[in-house]
């Protein structure tokens, strides 16, 4: 297990390193780093200071060393627009994005798994077919378009919920969160649903396919032959088996949710990292873009690592083979 963990952590670090090299090359090699990293309005003295600080007059590998060294110390440059460290600005926005992503994940899992299992147990029923049809729509329609429809229906036509913004926030565990006040919650509902729909469709399809597969297995029949209640057969024997692939997907999707939040945050003007990224791209605030990229890579790789560990805890067979291997 420890060997496995060490190897997995090593692979993750390698992935982060590879992305760091790509980002570095993207910024320092393709473009002129002075243009990229120094504000267009900067004075000659400021430019000279930056060149000095980043070692832009030195060889490429030394520049990379400085880039990595600075990054490790949390220095990913200074925003042109806000005049503050880019990482700091992003970390300010992180809680909003994480709140949105986690609520959306909870929604997609909490609704997606039961619906998928239901559709898998009764694939030919009307409910089963409706669930599948709905999931195909949720799966194939672009995210931003679903978000716009939600706004059109619930904010413009019905007027039940606000169309954008984050609403009132309160402090919770040292972070500003929305879900504790009614105003904040009402602002959270539509974006969370929007972000959840796509993943929910994925989870429904996956849960349904796996439920069908597991239900055909002898051990499910044997569980019934032992006289277990249908409840126990589904909730223990079927569910535990489908959880292995589903947890994998959920974990991988949490990472992509942080990325997909870019779209949802833009549609609903949700003040998270994703909205910040789009604003920064439009304002050419490149240090923020670089910082966003590095942080997101770190989050995604970290989540993938976590998923693998959970996965190995869930499936005793993998635990064994990995320990041997």
């Amino acid at each position: 297990m420890i060997v496995y963990l060490v190897r997995r952590v090593g692979q993750s670090l390698l992935a982060v390193m590879a992305m760091a090299v790509l980002v570095f090359l993207g910024v320092f090699f393709i473009g002129n780093p002075v243009d990229v990293l120094v504000s267009p309005e900067a004075s000659q003295a400021q430019i000279a200071a930056t060149v000095e600080r980043l070692g832009l007059d030195r060889p490429l590998y030394e520049q990379f060393g400085i880039f990595v060294w600075n990054a490790l110390q949390g220095d990913l440059g200074t925003s042109f627009v806000y005049g503050r460290p880019a990482l700091e600005i992003i970390l300010d926005r992180l809680p909003a994005t994480m709140e949105l992503a986690l609520v959306a994940l909870a929604l997609s899992v909490g609704i997606g798994i039961p619906l998928g299992v239901w559709a898998g147990l009764r694939p030919d029923s009307i409910a089963g077919r409706t669930i599948m049809g709905g999931s195909i729509l949720g799966f194939s329609l672009p995210n931003f378009w679903q978000g716009m429809l939600l706004i059109l229906v619930f904010a413009v036509l019905l007027g039940w919920l606000p169309a954008g913004g984050r609403g009132e926030t309160t402090e919770f565990l040292g972070m500003q969160v929305s879900f504790l006040t009614w105003d904040g919650l009402s602002h959270l509902i539509l974006p969370a649903i929007n972000l959840a729909l796509f993943k929910m469709s994925l989870i429904i399809r996956l849960a349904r396919a796996n439920t069908r597969e597991v239900c055909m297995q002898d051990y499910v029949k044997f569980a019934r032959a032992k006289g277990l209640s249908p409840r126990r057969v589904v909730l223990v024997h079927v569910l535990k088996n489908i959880m292995i692939p589903v947890v994998t997907i959920i974990g991988l999707e949490l990472g992509s949710m942080v990325a997909f939040a870019i779209v949802t945050e833009t549609v609903f003007a949700w003040p998270g990292m994703g909205k910040l990224l789009i604003d920064s791209i439009n304002l050419l605030d490149r240090p923020v873009i670089v910082a966003y990229l590095m942080l997101t890579v770190l989050i995604i790789v970290g989540i993938n690592l976590l998923v693998d560990v959970i996965y190995s805890l869930l499936d005793p067979r993998i635990r064994l083979s990995e320990m041997k291997g």
Partner: protein, 302 residues
């Protein structure tokens, strides 16, 4: 005179014919296919069938700005069946031109991505060893990050433009094809006839493309239909976010984004109609793709 009785020839349908036969058994798939062909024809013929050229400023009148569907033009008297946008542009024409750009971007990027992915995938499977493991490491690394994130970052660094969107889509997509082609080619390389072909002294290139490649086509088609819908959606999303195509060549996604501000004030048509066009296109392709997957996947046929 004796006639020699010839046995009636046994008709064996070619694979393409069999697939076509099975495909049409599902009426929904047929509707999807018809819709898609129709959409493709509209996109190709847009300059000739659109009521106006929405990007010829001479044809636009600011007087016609923001008209709801069904109103007539103050300037020319023509009817705007789907309304107009702020500049008095006929939405129907805008959608036709937008479809053209959306589909063009998707098809071009698909073609390039398939070509690159196939060559890399077949070569990886055929040569194996170091080359294979390096290529597949890159593919795995790339696929572990969401496509939209990669495309967004590329465009943030490259700037807007049709060519840049296409480049981003190719970079995002080639990995899917490389993986698909490699895994089906791997199955084939282990079979004896490839060894036999090597013994015959056939060139590597000939073995790869005449023997390996044909076996990779069915899974490739399935992945391609899924991916082209994804490409259209991704391009629309990027353009919606303002990092995709430039405003001079608006795709459906950009049209939707342009109308987005008016959505809240009740002028739904500027945004909703291009959206419907986009959604119908994507659904039609998905329906066709689903059916193709069922027909082409021999594992599901019993």
């Amino acid at each position: 005179m004796t006639e020699i009785a010839t046995p009636a020839p046994v008709r064996i349908d070619s694979p393409a014919k069999r697939i076509a036969k099975q495909f049409v058994e599902d009426p929904i798939a047929v509707i999807g296919l018809i819709l898609f062909v129709l959409i493709a024809l509209i996109a190709i013929a847009a300059p000739w069938i659109a009521p106006q050229n929405p990007y010829d400023l001479m044809q636009l009148s600011i007087m016609d700005g923001g008209l709801p569907p069904g109103e007539t033009s103050f300037a020319t008297g023509q009817t705007f069946w789907l309304g107009t946008d702020q500049q008095g542009r006929d939405m129907l024409s805008g959608i036709m031109y937008g479809l053209r750009i959306s589909l063009m971007v998707a098809v071009v990027s698909l073609t390039l991505a398939i070509t690159i992915g196939t060559i890399v995938g077949v070569a990886a499977a055929y040569f194996g060893g170091r080359f294979d493991s390096i290529v597949m490491r890159i593919v795995d690394l790339q696929l572990s990050f969401p496509a939209i994130l990669i495309a967004l970052i590329l465009l943030a660094l490259l700037g807007r433009g049709v060519d840049k969107v296409i480049l981003a889509l190719v970079i995002v997509q080639w990995a899917y094809y490389a993986r698909t082609v490699r895994s089906s080619a791997m199955v084939e390389t282990r079979k004896d006839y490839i060894d036999a072909a090597r013994c015959l002294g056939l060139s590597n290139r000939r073995i790869m493309f005449r023997h390996l490649l044909p076996n990779c086509v069915p899974p490739l088609i399935v992945v391609a239909t899924v991916q082209i819908a994804q490409a259209i959606a991704l391009e629309a999303t990027l353009s919606f976010l303002g990092v995709g195509v430039p405003i001079t060549e608006p795709s459906l996604g950009l049209l939707i984004a342009n109308g987005y501000d008016y959505l809240l004030s009740g002028r739904y048509w500027v945004s909703v109609f291009p959206g419907i066009a986009l959604v119908v296109t994507i659904i039609a392709i998905n329906v066709v793709g689903d059916r193709l997957r069922d027909v082409l996947n021999p594992r599901l046929q019993t």
